[in-house]
C-alpha cells in the first residue's frame, strides 16, 4: 500500500513536471535568446546556453532602435483610457440597472445580455466605415472607442450591486444623500473587489488585442504592443533574433510580472469572465 502511494506520487509529479517544462519552454527560449549574441543564433553548433552575455546589446536594440517602447506607452494609454471610460459609464449605469426603477430598465438589461454574445468582429466593419468617414482612423480615439462600451462590465457590476444592502441605501437617502453621492461614495467603494477583477480582465484584453488595432492603425506612431512586436519582427527578418526576443520579453513582461505579484487577483479577473 505504501509502495502504491509512493508510485502514484512519483507518477503524478512526473506528469506535472513534464507538462510544466513544455509550458515554460517558450519563455525559457525567449529569455535565453534575448541574451544570446547574434552570431550564435545562426551558429552551426546548437548550444542552449549562450556562450557570452549579449543581453545589453539585444535589449539596447529593442529599447532604442525599435518601435517597441512606443508601442508599450501606446498600449498603456489605450488600456487606461478604455478602463477609465468603462468604469465611469458602467458603474452608475449598473447601479441604476440594479437598484433604480427607471423606464426602459428591463429593455436595457435585455440589450446588455444580448450584447454579451457579440464579439468585436461584428460591429467592426460599420465602425471602421464611420471612423474612415470622419477621418478618425489611426488615432487613439479609434483604438479605444469600440471598447468604451462594456456589456460585460455592466452585467458584472449589476450583479454585484444587487447584493448591496437596501437598508444602507435607505439610511443614506434619509440622511439627504443624492443618488450620485450614493453611487460614488457608498456603492463603488463596496464594489472594489469586483472593480479590481474587472480591471485586470479589461487591461489584459486590450493590451493583447490584435484584431482591432490591426484594422484601424496604419502608422507606427499609434502601434499597440502586438503591432509593435509584429513590425519589429518584419523589420528583423533574417536579422537579429536576439533583439526580437528581447522585444518580445519587454512586451510580455508587464502583464506576466503583474500576474506573479498579484496572482489571486489576476486569476480571478481572467476567469470570472470566461469571455476571453
Amino acid at each position: 500500500m505504501r509502495w502504491r502511494a509512493l508510485l502514484a506520487w512519483a507518477l503524478s509529479h512526473l506528469m506535472l513536471a513534464t507538462g510544466a517544462v513544455l509550458m515554460l519552454a517558450p519563455f525559457v527560449w525567449m529569455l535565453l535568446t534575448s541574451i544570446r549574441p547574434a552570431e550564435e543564433v545562426f551558429g552551426a553548433v546548437f548550444n542552449p546556453i549562450p556562450s557570452r552575455f549579449a543581453g545589453v546589446e539585444n535589449y539596447a536594440q529593442a529599447l532604442f532602435a525599435s518601435n517597441v517602447p512606443r508601442a508599450m506607452v501606446n498600449g498603456a494609454v489605450v488600456c487606461l483610457g478604455i478602463l477609465a471610460v468603462q468604469l465611469a459609464t458602467a458603474l452608475p449605469a449598473a447601479y441604476a440597472l440594479a437598484r433604480l426603477p427607471f423606464p426602459g430598465r428591463g429593455m436595457l438589461f435585455g440589450l446588455v445580455l444580448f450584447g454579451l454574445t457579440i464579439p468585436i468582429q461584428v460591429p467592426a466593419l460599420p465602425l471602421y466605415l464611420a471612423l474612415a468617414e470622419t477621418g478618425l482612423l489611426d488615432t487613439f480615439f479609434a483604438l479605444m472607442f469600440p471598447f468604451f462600451l462594456t456589456v460585460f462590465g455592466l452585467f458584472l457590476f449589476r450583479q454585484f450591486f444587487r447584493t448591496y444592502p437596501e437598508e444602507i441605501l435607505q439610511a443614506a437617502r434619509l440622511d439627504g444623500m443624492g443618488e450620485f453621492e450614493i453611487v460614488w461614495r457608498l456603492a463603488v467603494p463596496a464594489a472594489l473587489p469586483a472593480i479590481g477583477a474587472f480591471s485586470v480582465f479589461s487591461v489584459v484584453a486590450h493590451w493583447n488585442d490584435l484584431y482591432w488595432p490591426l484594422i484601424v492603425v496604419t502608422s507606427t506612431e499609434r502601434a499597440t504592443p502586438p503591432l509593435g512586436i509584429l513590425a519589429f519582427r518584419d523589420a528583423e527578418t533574417g536579422g537579429n533574433y536576439g533583439a526580437l526576443m528581447a522585444g518580445a520579453t519587454l512586451i510580455t513582461a508587464p502583464l506576466v510580472v503583474a500576474f506573479l505579484v498579484a496572482r489571486r487577483g489576476f486569476v480571478r479577473g481572467l476567469t470570472m469572465t470566461g469571455l476571453k
Binding site: M15, L125, L129, Q159, Y211, L214, R233, T252, L275
Partner: protein, 307 residues
C-alpha cells in the same frame, strides 16, 4: 431636470421620491445606453443592410444585390475552406484543451506543497501577450534555427518544417492554441474540484469505490458536469475565433491550409475592402458565435447567480 434630481437632493425633495429615483436612474443609464446604441445596435443594423449590397470602400455607386453575397459565399472555395479549417481547428483544440486541462487540474488539486508552483507555471501562457509569444514559437519551430526540428528529428520524425507543411500547419497552430489556454481551463476545473464536498468521497469509499479511477468516475466526473460544460463552450468559442497565431505565423498558408473564418473575414473586409461581401460573412460568423455565446451567457448567469 434629471440633473437637478441627481445632483441636488435637497432641492428635489419636492418631487415624489419614486420620480426622483427614476430620473436619477435614467440619467445614470443614459451614457451607457448611448454607447450601446452607437457601438452595438446601430452598427448591427448597418451590417445587415451592407450585407445586401455590393458596397466596396470608396466606391461611388452602391447597388442592392439581395442575397447575392450569401450565395457567392457558399460557392466560394476560400470561404468553404475557411469554414472547414476553423472546424478542424476547433476539433483539434477542444479535446486537448478540455481533457488535458481536467487531467492537469486533477493532478494539481491532489498536490499540497507544490500546488501553487504548478498553478503559476500552467497559467503563465494565459497572461502573456499571444502575439509576442507567437513570434517566439515561430523561432522555436524554425526549421534551421529553432530547437524543435532537430529534437523531433532525433526522435525519428524526420526534418519537419511544421508551419510550412500544409498537412501539419493547422495542427501546429492548434498545439499553440492549447498551450495558451490550458492554464485558463485548469483554473476553472480547479475551482470546480474545490467545490466538491469531501464527504462525497468518503461516502463513495463506503459504497466500495476503491482506487483513484473509481473515485473519479463515481464522484469527480459527475460533480464536475456544469464546469465541464462551461469549459467546453468557452473553449469552443475562443478556438472558433482563432486569429492572432494565423496572422503572426502562417497568414492563411501554406496553400490555404490555415485560412480560418476570422482571418478570411479580416482580409475581405479590411484588405480587399469588399465591404458588402465581408458584411455577409460577418453575419454568418455572428450566427455561429451567437449560438455558442447564448449557451455560454446562460451558463455565466447561472454561475454568477448561484456562486
Amino acid at each position: 431636470m434629471a440633473f437637478a434630481a441627481v445632483f441636488l437632493p435637497r432641492a428635489a425633495r419636492s418631487a415624489s421620491p419614486d420620480r426622483r429615483l427614476a430620473l436619477a436612474g435614467a440619467a445614470f443609464a443614459a451614457p451607457a445606453a448611448l454607447l450601446l446604441l452607437t457601438i452595438l445596435l446601430a452598427p448591427l443594423v448597418v451590417l445587415l443592410l451592407l450585407s445586401l449590397t455590393d458596397y466596396r470602400l470608396g466606391a461611388v455607386a452602391v447597388r442592392w444585390v439581395g442575397l447575392a453575397n450569401y450565395a457567392e459565399m457558399f460557392s466560394d472555395p476560400v470561404f468553404r475552406r475557411a469554414i472547414r479549417n476553423t472546424f478542424l481547428y476547433v476539433a483539434f483544440v477542444l479535446p486537448a484543451g478540455v481533457f488535458g486541462a481536467l487531467a492537469v487540474a486533477a493532478l494539481v488539486h491532489a498536490r499540497t506543497r507544490t500546488r501553487s508552483v504548478y498553478e503559476v507555471i500552467y497559467f503563465l501562457p494565459v497572461t502573456s501577450t499571444l502575439v509576442a509569444m507567437a513570434t517566439v514559437w515561430q523561432f522555436l519551430l524554425h526549421p534551421t534555427l529553432g530547437p524543435v526540428t532537430p529534437l523531433l528529428a532525433s526522435l525519428g520524425f524526420g526534418r519537419l518544417d511544421l508551419l510550412n507543411d500544409p498537412d501539419l500547419a493547422l495542427v501546429t497552430l492548434a498545439v499553440i492554441g492549447v498551450w495558451q489556454m490550458l492554464g485558463f481551463n485548469m483554473v476553472l476545473f480547479l475551482a470546480g474540484l474545490s467545490a466538491i464536498p469531501r464527504d462525497l468521497y468518503e461516502a463513495a469509499a463506503l459504497d466500495g469505490a476503491a482506487g483513484a479511477i473509481d473515485r473519479f468516475l463515481r464522484v469527480t466526473w459527475p460533480m464536475l458536469g456544469p464546469t465541464t460544460m462551461f469549459v467546453t463552450i468557452t473553449t469552443t468559442i475562443s478556438a472558433f475565433k482563432v486569429f492572432d497565431t494565423v496572422v503572426v505565423l502562417t497568414r492563411g498558408g501554406p496553400l490555404g491550409a490555415t485560412d480560418t473564418l476570422l482571418y478570411v473575414l479580416y482580409l475581405e473586409g479590411f484588405h480587399y475592402f469588399r465591404t458588402g461581401y465581408a458584411a455577409a460573412m460577418t453575419v454568418i460568423v455572428l450566427a455561429f458565435l451567437c449560438a455558442l455565446s447564448l449557451l455560454q451567457a446562460r451558463l455565466i448567469e447561472r454561475r454568477v447567480h448561484y456562486a
